[in-house]
Every structure is written in structure tokens, then in C-alpha cells.
């Protein structure tokens, strides 16, 4: 067992790294950032290994608390938070490596921003005090604004403005609702709030207020339009974190707050979530089909995949929720990887326009192989991480609503269409564009970035047990909390007739 405050240590390491990076030159800052994120990854692995998954294990582990009067500096994680922390820590060194050569100015500041963001994001998952959570949750976006606004593309101002406006709207509503819940429950402790029974009539409004914030972060249709712009303008590593971690904050919010705190409202408003998720999948998949900009296409596909998450979470059964959580983890891997793949060729040709590429399988065979693997993960091919989560989530949704499941499952057709169309336009075809044909294959650094992601995608696809197991007990607790309110829709086995007994229809013959 670990007898030192490992969570605080994990918050401190990137923070110290960030401050140190500011005082170093470009080269030093790079190495400092890499060292800090690798150390952090080691700590995360240690955390994963020492997390108690036994039957008698407490829900919250590695807890530490210091009362600060109004709120407390309380940290602690359950299995769900653990896995999101592991994901974040895994992606971070890859982001630093991806920015190694492509960021050319203000490098110390850039590295500091990334490290600072890591602290804040981990804080979101570790916080056990709702106000502490809020601070991390909102502050985590500031480095992201900076990364897009300073190191972004040509139209970065508009993108950060949109990003800012959307999140601001959601945050204000959520803050008000948070203050109200604190007033009601008389505590800022998240575990206590999760167990508190709010009056059913108040739940709906509170739920909607939290929903405003989480739906934007997710993002759900129709508050998704900030995401394509943010992705397009962000530097590669920014996109990876945006897709890999920041998009998971909304889903985490639903699991941590909306569902356990407001089970009645969650059940009541499930149709709303289902409808928005179903629309998101079909709508954004079709939009992805007609994109000419690679990053925009992948951004829209992210919105579609998040539709599986939201629908799965509100399926009110184990397959749905576990599936949604696995989609969150797996999407963090393959969408991050896809953005990195875009980054690889963007670094060479400085365009994201799909039509400028073609025939890359000829001159970049290794790249084509990695790109294919992540494309397949994105279309949820069994054996990759994408399948496990998506299939479980859909299976869960089917048990609650066949309509929603049927519409969402259309996503597997559309997903194949837009991703393979993208892949064919980039990697297949003749090498008839001289500049694209002249690009060299992956170098050692790029392989070092993509290979771990590929390994993780396959690992989670073939043997997902280590990823699901830590979350199992937490999902069980959540389900126990939700069970009384489980909504019943059309999919219930209407008349399960004991084997052997004739049905009324048969009997009447």
C-alpha cells in the first residue's frame, strides 16, 4: 500500500515542472516537460497497480483531506476516476513528443501550459469537494484557451471565442446549481452529495443546470459547434488533449453528479438524452461525410462517438454504463491517435485539406498501417478498443429503448462510410501529387508516439478486463442508486412465457 499522499504528489509534479519549464530555454523546457510527464505516467501506473479492487475495497481510495473552512482540499479517487487519470497521464508524454518539433515559438510557455493543464485535469478527477472540483473543472480550460489562442492556426481567435462563450454559459448555470445543492445538503463533500436525496421536484432544474455544462463539454448536439473549430485551430497536441481528456469531462460529470445526485430527474429526462444522442450520431456522421478538412472530419466523428457515451450512460444498466465508460477511454486513445496521424502529415505539408493528399500508402507504408489501425478502431472493428465500448453501450441502450439503439446502430454504417472514405482519399490512390508523394515515412520519434497508442488500442480491444475491472464496483454502486428509478421503455421482453407452455396465439389455433 502507498503511505504517502500520492494524489497530491501527482498534482505537484506537473506544476513544479511547469514552473521550472518557464525558467528554461526551449531545449530544456522540452526535456523538462517530457521528464515530468513520464514521471507522472509512472505514478499513474503505480496508482493503477495499487488500486484495491477487492470485494471489500472502499469506494474512495488514496483519500486525503485538509479542511480549509468554506471548502476542503479533499482528494480521493474511485475506479472511474482512476482510469481517466491513467488515460490522461498516458496521453501527456505523447503530446509533448508530438510538439517536439512542430511548435517553434514560445516553447517554454507552451510546455508550461501543457503541464499546468495536466495538473488541473487530474485535479478534476481527484477532487472530492464540489467547489474544488469546480475550480479545477473551469480552470482547466484556461490553458486550453491559451494553447489554441497563441499556438493555434489562422482563425484561432474565432475558435477560442466560441469555445469560451459556450463553456461560459454552461458554467454559470452549473455554479448556481452547485451552490444551491450545497445549501440544501449542507456539505461540499462530493461523496456526501452523491448520497443525498434531493427533493424530486428540485431535481429536474438542478439536473438541467448541470446538464448545460456537461452537454457543452461532451459536446452534445446542438451545442457541439465549438468543437470542430477548436480542433481545427488547435495545434496537434492540443487536439489530442481536447479529444482525449477534455471531452471526457462531460461524461465524467454525468457519472459523478447528474446520475447519482439526481436519479429521479435522470430517469425523467432520459428521453431527452436519448433523442439528442440519436440525432448527434446521425447528424454529425453525415456532416463528417462531406468534410474536406481532416481535423474537422475527425472532430465531427468525435461528436458522433460521444453520442454513444451519453446514450450508454443513461441506459440505466451495467452494459450501457460500462460501455460508455470504455468508449470514453477508447475514444481518448484512437481519436487522439487520429489527430496525431493528421499532425504527422500536417507537419510535412502544412495543409489539412484531404484533397491535397493521396496515395500515401505508396511512400509512407508504416504511416498507412498505423492510420489504418486507428481508423478501424474508430469504426469499432472487433479486436480494437472501439468495439468493446461501443458494442456494450449499444447493447445497454437496446435493453432500454430499441428505437434509440436502432438509430445509434446506424452510426456503425455511417462511421464506416466517412472513415473509410477519408482513409481511401488519403492513403489510397495513385501517387499523382508530387508534394504528397515526396513525403517521407514516419521517423523514430513519430513511431515512438504512435506505437504505444496502437498497443493500447489493441490491448483494450483484445483483453479489456484490466480497464473495466477497476470500474466494476463503482458502476455497481451507481446502479444500486439508480435501480428504483430505472425507466422502462419499449424493449422489455413483453411476455416471457415459460418454456413449453403454448402462447395464446398458438392455443387459439
Amino acid at each position: 500500500m502507498i503511505d504517502y499522499p500520492i494524489l497530491s504528489l501527482m498534482l505537484a509534479v506537473p506544476l513544479i515542472g511547469a514552473v521550472a519549464a518557464l525558467f528554461l530555454d526551449a531545449r530544456g523546457a522540452r526535456w523538462m516537460a517530457l521528464a515530468a510527464t513520464l514521471l507522472e505516467l509512472g505514478l499513474a501506473a503505480l496508482l493503477w497497480a495499487s488500486f484495491d479492487q477487492g470485494a471489500a475495497a472502499p469506494q474512495w481510495q488514496f483519500t486525503e483531506a485538509r479542511d480549509l473552512g468554506i471548502f476542503s482540499y479533499a482528494l480521493g479517487i474511485d475506479g472511474i476516476a482512476l482510469m481517466l487519470i491513467v488515460l490522461s497521464c498516458f496521453l501527456m508524454p505523447l503530446c509533448i513528443l508530438a510538439s517536439w518539433a512542430s511548435i517553434e515559438h514560445r516553447i517554454p510557455e507552451y510546455m508550461a501550459a501543457f503541464l499546468f493543464m495536466e495538473t488541473l485535469m487530474l485535479g478534476v478527477f481527484m477532487a472530492q469537494d464540489i467547489l474544488l472540483f469546480y475550480v479545477f473543472f473551469e480552470a482547466g480550460l484556461i490553458p486550453m484557451y491559451l494553447i489554441i489562442g497563441i499556438w493555434g492556426g489562422a482563425n484561432r481567435i474565432y475558435a477560442s471565442y466560441k469555445f469560451f462563450l459556450y463553456t461560459l454559459l454552461g458554467s454559470v448555470l452549473m455554479l448556481i446549481a452547485m451552490l444551491w445543492t450545497i445549501g440544501q445538503a449542507g456539505t461540499t463533500s462530493i461523496p456526501a452529495l452523491m448520497a443525498f436525496d434531493f427533493a424530486p421536484e428540485a431535481q429536474t432544474w438542478l439536473w438541467l443546470a448541470f446538464f448545460a455544462s456537461f452537454a457543452v463539454k461532451m459536446p452534445m448536439w446542438p451545442v457541439h459547434t465549438w468543437l470542430p473549430d477548436a480542433h481545427v485551430q488547435a495545434p496537434t497536441a492540443g487536439s489530442v488533449i481536447l479529444a482525449g481528456v477534455l471531452l471526457k469531462l462531460g461524461g465524467y460529470g454525468f457519472v459523478r453528479f447528474s446520475l447519482p445526485m439526481f436519479p429521479d430527474a435522470s430517469a425523467l429526462l432520459t428521453p431527452l438524452v436519448f433523442a439528442l444522442s440519436a440525432i448527434a450520431v446521425v447528424y454529425t456522421s453525415l456532416v463528417a461525410l462531406v468534410q474536406q478538412d481532416m481535423k474537422k472530419l475527425i472532430a465531427y466523428s468525435s461528436v458522433a462517438h460521444m453520442g454513444f457515451v451519453t446514450a450508454g450512460l443513461f441506459a440505466f444498466n451495467r452494459q450501457g454504463i460500462e460501455g460508455a465508460l470504455v468508449v470514453m477511454l477508447s475514444h481518448g486513445l484512437y481519436s487522439g491517435a487520429l489527430f496525431l496521424c493528421v499532425g504527422v502529415i500536417y507537419d510535412r505539408m502544412h495543409t489539412r485539406e484531404i484533397g491535397r493528399y493521396g496515395g500515401l500508402a505508396n511512400n509512407m507504408p508504416r504511416y498507412a498501417l498505423f492510420f489504418l489501425l486507428f481508423t478501424m478502431a474508430s469504426v469499432a472493428l472487433p479486436g480494437t478498443s472501439g468495439f468493446v465500448g461501443e458494442f456494450l453501450a449499444l447493447m445497454g441502450v437496446y435493453q432500454t429503448s430499441t428505437w434509440t439503439a436502432a438509430v445509434l446502430t446506424l452510426g456503425i454504417i455511417l462511421g464506416a462510410a466517412y472513415m473509410l472514405y477519408l482513409y481511401a482519399r488519403v492513403a489510397y490512390g495513385a501517387s499523382d501529387k508530387p508534394d504528397a508523394a515526396a513525403m517521407r515515412d514516419l521517423n523514430g520519434r513519430e513511431i515512438a508516439i504512435l506505437a504505444p497508442l496502437a498497443a493500447a488500442v489493441l490491448w483494450m480491444g483484445i483483453y479489456p478486463e484490466p480497464f473495466i475491472a477497476p470500474m466494476r464496483a463503482d458502476v455497481g454502486r451507481l446502479l444500486a442508486r439508480l435501480e428504483p428509478d430505472r425507466p422502462r421503455f419499449d424493449a422489455q421482453l413483453a411476455r416471457a412465457i415459460a418454456p413449453g407452455t403454448p402462447t395464446p396465439a398458438e392455443a387459439s389455433h
Binding site: 471548502f71 484556461i142 437496446y398 454504417i413 473509410l420 421482453l493
Partner: protein, 690 residues
């Protein structure tokens, strides 16, 4: 042993694929082909064990896969008689196709990639047939889909190959849409995805109903039909067949292995594997019968007008798959599997034979430019002739017949013996399609191997001759009597049908031994697979002892097959002879006849030539609207509505857009954001301390 059979091809694929250019062509070929021959030998051991009645079915666990509440899915390999049949089919054809590709792909510069894909495909297919649960079956299902996508698009520089690959994957995904929903529904109803558990519980569910999309439907009908949609996609049944002819863009060995012998039969395998489920729903069985019959008819009609040699065989495959499905639909699962088994040999033979012809004719695939090839490539000719005798079902009851004679006639008789209306319809269609099968199969043989050479009209041939001349001239050799004779002096005369007669000085060569050896071995299968194995597949007693409950088996029904009226037994033979007769009349005796005839029924001809207009229909119904909707949602939805009234509108209303933008530019907004955050924190403090 089963682990060795399944995982050797995977290992070989990884070695060849990841080693790629570093290891070189020879290593990749040796490793993959060697692995496949070992797997094939072991598979025959397994199969013969089952045939002798010594073996029992068993389950070999491999690894935990997905655990989520009641959903317990493991990687495991199931071996029973049904699996054993598939094992020999897959590994045998795959091994021979690997060997064949040594010759066929000899000039390709991405050979390791090709062999890696072939082996990867074999692995996925083996995972499919050894699956003990629906989700592992789905893994294999999608895995073969991936391999098929990669191999159809193997020559990815060709736009047509690129498009065909995407089409194959996406159309299959439409099938998988149904398959997925079927698995979800099955799990909901039975609380498990384990195939044995589902099959044991299925009969008890007959007649129960469940809610689906707002309606109340019979459970077993719903589940079977959803799963069957998956089978339709993979096995190219009418409606979801459009990808298969286009899949001929892949190299010919691929067509033989994937798009004839193995992958496309996965749907038939699935229906047989889940036969106790289908038995629980009469409606589902009727649908399977009708879809199978419709496909058998549709594809056979289209096959009669194709001029591309590979497409003829592709439509033939589609049609034969229809036979297998209606066999399953009338409850003759043993006959369906039997036809799957014999078909694998003779169809792989026909495809590889076609490949040999294409190889000899310098990549020319249009039969209008063939003719008279039987003397130039005699081994190929004899092999394809045997394949044709097998597919058309030549044989004499009680004496001897080629492979198709036993399996196809069993299917036709079973359709009659079932006594149901769909079965009767399928019987009629089956007989008529047998006539068409004979017609297009002999048409292929006559156009290709008989008559006068019409090679002069082919661009490929002209190119080849020109090239040979140039290289020969460059080398300064004059002793060759084959490379450059008489070019330019050939008297090219316009033959019937507008084709140019003459050889253009081209000399087709017989293929190397690596290609001929597989043809010879498959010929043995095409000749003897029926007579040797019909006992265990469809005879009442031997069959029961062989299958041992691995598919739904009604011994009484198979007994009935022997007692159908004589005219039923004779009708396929008559249909076959008629087909041969018409083909002989039209393509040997009187070569001007087809053109005159098609001119007289132009509407029908155009209808067939356009493959019943499915591609056009789907293009207008799905592809174009999807893109149009995508553009509409993007421009009118996201940009003109959400953004306009959302963020842009907000900025306009408050009038801060520009100022905000200006602030952002200089980085002040981050200060604003921080201030906002601190302000909110202050508000929280105030709220708490109050």
C-alpha cells in the same frame, strides 16, 4: 491442435506483414504458405476424426474477453462436426490459393503485404467458424470483412479498386447493423451470448413476443431475421449483393478464396450454426427460403449476359449461395453445408482457372477477346472443364456424378420434399436456375476455349505483343519463335458480334506449376467431393452420426429425399442439358445468334446488363441523399442556424464580438477568464459563509 490451426495463420500474417520488405518476398511466401499447409493438414486430421465417428465436440478456452454483468464473453475455440467441415474448406482452399499466388502474384512488388492479408483473412475466418459465442463470431465476421476490404483494395492505385473496397465494407456494415441488433436482442431475451446456451433455450421461446420499435413481434422471428440481415450482407443475398461483383477488383486468388469459397459462405454457416433458433420461427425460415430463391434466380439471370470472365463466376457464386440459403430455409441444413463444401472446391477451381486464363491473356478479362484457348493452355482448359461439369451437376444417379451433382440435386429435391409453399417456389426457381447455370457456365467455356481466337481486339494483348517485340528487339535475340512473330501482319478480320478475329501474333503461355498444382488438386475435389462425402452430409443415418447435433437434423426429412417423384429427380438434369444445348447452339454452332437474340429483346437485355438497376437505385436512394443531407446539416444546420443564433448571435447582441476578439488577440481574455473564475469562487465563498 485447434489452437495451432487457428493461430498459425495469424502468426504467419504478423511475420509477413510486419517483416514486410525487410524479410523479402521469399520469406513471406514460405512462412505464410507453410503455415497454411500445416493448418490444412491438421484440419483434415480433425475432419477425418469426426468422419470416422471418433471425435467429440469440445471447447478450448483461450482468454477472457468482455465481462460486463451478465455478459460474459471469452475467447474460446469450439470444435464440432460443423466447425470441422469449415476448417477443411477454409484451410485447404487457403493453402492452395497461397501456393497459386506464388505464380499469379510473381510480378507484384507488394507480395509480403498480399500474403500477410491472405493469412490474416484465414485467421479471421477460422475465428468465425470456431466461435462459441455470438460476439466472437462477430469478431471473425468483421475481421474477414477487414481482410476483404484490404484485398479488394489491394491495387489501391486504381480508383475502381478503391471504390469497390469501400463499397464492400459499407454494404457489409448494413448487414452488420442487423447482426448487431440481433445480438443485442438475443442478449436481452436469453441473458447470454453463448451459442450453445441460446440454442438450448431457443425452442422454449417460440411464440413469445417482445417489443421492438414500438410494435409487438414474435421473439424468435425478430431475432432470426435481424441475424439473417447480417448473413445477407456477408453472403451477398439479393438487396445486399451489390458489393460482390465489384469485389472482383481484387486479385483473382482473392476472389477464389474470399469471394467464392469461404467468406461469402459465412452467412450460410451462421444460419446452420444457429439452425435450432431458425427452427423456432417458421416465418424466418420462409424468409430465408424466399430470399435464397430470389438471389439464385436474380444472379443466374444477370450471369448470362456478363462478358467479364470473373463477373460471370461472381454472379454464379451469388446464385449458388442462394441455393444454399433456400436449402437452409426448407430445413435441409445438411444439404446447405454439403453444397457449401462442394461449391468451395469447384468454385475455387473455376476462379483459379479464370485467373490462369487471365494470366495467359495478359490481364485481359473480357471473354469477347478470348476464343480458341484450349490448345494454348490445355491444363487450364481441362481444369475449368471439370469445374464446369461439377457446377452444372453432371452425373448419373447411382453410378457417378461430379461434386455439384450430389449437392445441388439434394437441395432441389429437399425444396420439393419440404412441401411448403416457399419450398415449392424454391424448387421451381432452383430448376430454372440450374438451366441458367448450365447456360452461362458453358457459355464461358465456349467463349473462352472454343471457336476462333478473337485476341486481336484486346488492348491488353496488343500492348503485350508490342512490349514483347520491343524487349526482344532490345535484347537482339532472333531465335525466339514465340516472342515476336508476325506482329502487324496479322490479318485482323471482324468476326461475328463485332469482335476482331485473329491472334495479333500473341502466344498465350500455360501458367507455372505453382498455379497448375492447385488447379489439379481442386479438380480432384470438384470431381470426387460429392461421391466421397455425400453420406455424412445428407444420408439419414450417416449424417446423424456425423453431425451429432451441431446443426438441426431431421433424419426423416433426409429419408424423404430418396422418395421424391422421378420427374423431380430428373428435372435438374433436363434443365442442365437444355442449358448446355442452348449454349452450344448460341456460342459454338451459330455465333451470330446471341447478338440477334439480344437485339430482339432489348429491354430485357438492358435490364439484365444493368444488373436489375440495383446500383443505380441505391445511388439515388442512399449515396446521393447521404451526401446532400450531410451538406445540408453542415451548412444550413451548423453554420446558418446553430452558429448564427448561438455564438455569433450572442456576440452580435451584446456587441462585444469585436472587442472580445481584440481582447483575445492580445491575450487579455485569459485575464478575463481568470477574473471570472475568481469572482465565481468569491461568490461561492459568500454563499457558503452566509
Amino acid at each position: 491442435m485447434i489452437k495451432l490451426i487457428v493461430f498459425l495463420p495469424l502468426l504467419a500474417a504478423l511475420v509477413a506483414g510486419l517483416g514486410n520488405r525487410a524479410l523479402g518476398n521469399a520469406t513471406a511466401k514460405l512462412v505464410t504458405t507453410g503455415a497454411l499447409f500445416v493448418a490444412a493438414a491438421l484440419s483434415w486430421v480433425v475432419f477425418l476424426d469426426f468422419m470416422s465417428g471418433d471425435a467429440r465436440s469440445y471447447l478450448e478456452p483461450v482468454l477472457t474477453w468482455i465481462r460486463s454483468g451478465d455478459l460474459q464473453v471469452d475467447w474460446a475455440l469450439r470444435v464440432d462436426a460443423l466447425t470441422a467441415v469449415m476448417l477443411v474448406v477454409i484451410t485447404t482452399v487457403s493453402a492452395l490459393v497461397h501456393l497459386y499466388s506464388w505464380g499469379y502474384m510473381a510480378e507484384d512488388d507488394s507480395q509480403p503485404r498480399f500474403f500477410a492479408y491472405l493469412s490474416l483473412f484465414t485467421f479471421a475466418m477460422l475465428m468465425l467458424v470456431t466461435a462459441d459465442n455470438l460476439i466472437q463470431m462477430f469478431f471473425g465476421w468483421e475481421g474477414v470483412g477487414l481482410a476483404s476490404y484490404l484485398l479488394i483494395g489491394f491495387w489501391y492505385h486504381k480508383p475502381s479498386a478503391k471504390a469497390a473496397a469501400i463499397k464492400a465494407f459499407v454494404v457489409n456494415r448494413v448487414g452488420d447493423f442487423g447482426f448487431s441488433l440481433g445480438i443485442f436482442g438475443t442478449f436481452l431475451v436469453f441473458g447470454t451470448v453463448s451459442i450453445p446456451a441460446i440454442l438450448a433455450a431457443a425452442p422454449g421461446m417460440a411464440g413469445s413476443t417482445i417489443g421492438f420499435l414500438g410494435g409487438e413481434v414474435e421473439v424468435m422471428t425478430l431475432l432470426c431475421l435481424l441475424l439473417f440481415v447480417g448473413a445477407m450482407g456477408k453472403s451477398a443475398q439479393l438487396g445486399l449483393h451489390t458489393w460482390l461483383p465489384d469485389a472482383m477488383e481484387g486479385p483473382t486468388p482473392v476472389s477464389a478464396l474470399i469471394h467464392a469459397a469461404t467468406m461469402v459462405t459465412a452467412g450460410v454457416f451462421m444460419v446452420c450454426r444457429l439452425s435450432p433458433m431458425f427452427e423456432a420461427s417458421g416465418t424466418a425460415l420462409a424468409v430465408v427460403t424466399l430470399v435464397g430463391a430470389a438471389t439464385a434466380l436474380f444472379a443466374a439471370t444477370v450471369g448470362t449476359v456478363q462478358t467479364d470472365i470473373k463477373r460471370v463466376i461472381a454472379y454464379s457464386t451469388c446464385s449458388q449461395l442462394g441455393y444454399m440459403f433456400f436449402a437452409a430455409g426448407v430445413g435441409a441444413y445438411g444439404a446447405a453445408m454439403f453444397h457449401l463444401f462442394t461449391h468451395a472446391f469447384f468454385k475455387a477451381l473455376l476462379f483459379l482457372g479464370a485467373g490462369s486464363v487471365i494470366h495467359a491473356m495478359h490481364h485481359e478479362q473480357d471473354m469477347r477477346f478470348y476464343g480458341g484457348l484450349r490448345r494454348s493452355i490445355p491444363v487450364t482448359f481441362w481444369a475449368m472443364l471439370l469445374g464446369t461439369l461439377a457446377i452444372t451437376g453432371v452425373g448419373v444417379t447411382g453410378v457417378f456424378g461430379f461434386a455439384g451433382f450430389y449437392s445441388k440435386d439434394a437441395i432441389i429435391e429437399a425444396a420439393y420434399a419440404s412441401g411448403t409453399t416457399p419450398g415449392g417456389l424454391a424448387f421451381a426457381v432452383g430448376v430454372f436456375a440450374a438451366f441458367l447455370t448450365a447456360f452461362y457456365s458453358w457459355r464461358l467455356i465456349f467463349l473462352t476455349f472454343f471457336g476462333q481466337p478473337r485476341w486481336a481486339g484486346s488492348d491488353h494483348i496488343r500492348h503485350a505483343v508490342h512490349h514483347d517485340y520491343e524487349s526482344a528487339a532490345a535484347e537482339g535475340t532472333t531465335d525466339s519463335d514465340e516472342a515476336h512473330v508476325d506482329h502487324g501482319t496479322v490479318a485482323a478480320t471482324a468476326g461475328p458480334g463485332g469482335a476482331v478475329e485473329g491472334t495479333a501474333g500473341y502466344h498465350p503461355h500455360e501458367s507455372p506449376w505453382t498455379m497448375l498444382a492447385p488447379l489439379a488438386l481442386l479438380s480432384v475435389g470438384a470431381v470426387f467431393a460429392g461421391v466421397a462425402f455425400h453420406g455424412i452430409f445428407i444420408e439419414p443415418e450417416a449424417g446423424e452420426a456425423f453431425w451429432r447435433g451441431s446443426l438441426a437434423w431431421d433424419a426423416h426429412f433426409y429419408e424423404e429425399l430418396h422418395h421424391v417423384p422421378l420427374w423431380v429427380k430428373l428435372s435438374p438434369a433436363v434443365a442442365m442439358l437444355l442449358g448446355l444445348f442452348f449454349a452450344y447452339r448460341a456460342y459454338l454452332k451459330n455465333p451470330g445468334l446471341p447478338a440477334r437474340f439480344t437485339a430482339s429483346v432489348d429491354t430485357l437485355y438492358q435490364f439484365l446488363l444493368h444488373k436489375w438497376y440495383f446500383d443505380e437505385l441505391y445511388h439515388h436512394l442512399f449515396t446521393r441523399p447521404a451526401f446532400a443531407l450531410g451538406r445540408l446539416f453542415w451548412r444550413a444546420g451548423d453554420e446558418k442556424t446553430i452558429d448564427r443564433f448561438g455564438p455569433n448571435g450572442a456576440a452580435a447582441v451584446v456587441g462585444v464580438g469585436n472587442r472580445l476578439a481584440g481582447a483575445l488577440q492580445s491575450g487579455y481574455l485569459y485575464t478575463y477568464a481568470l477574473v471570472m473564475l475568481l469572482g465565481l469562487a468569491a461568490a461561492a465563498t459568500w454563499a457558503m459563509t452566509r
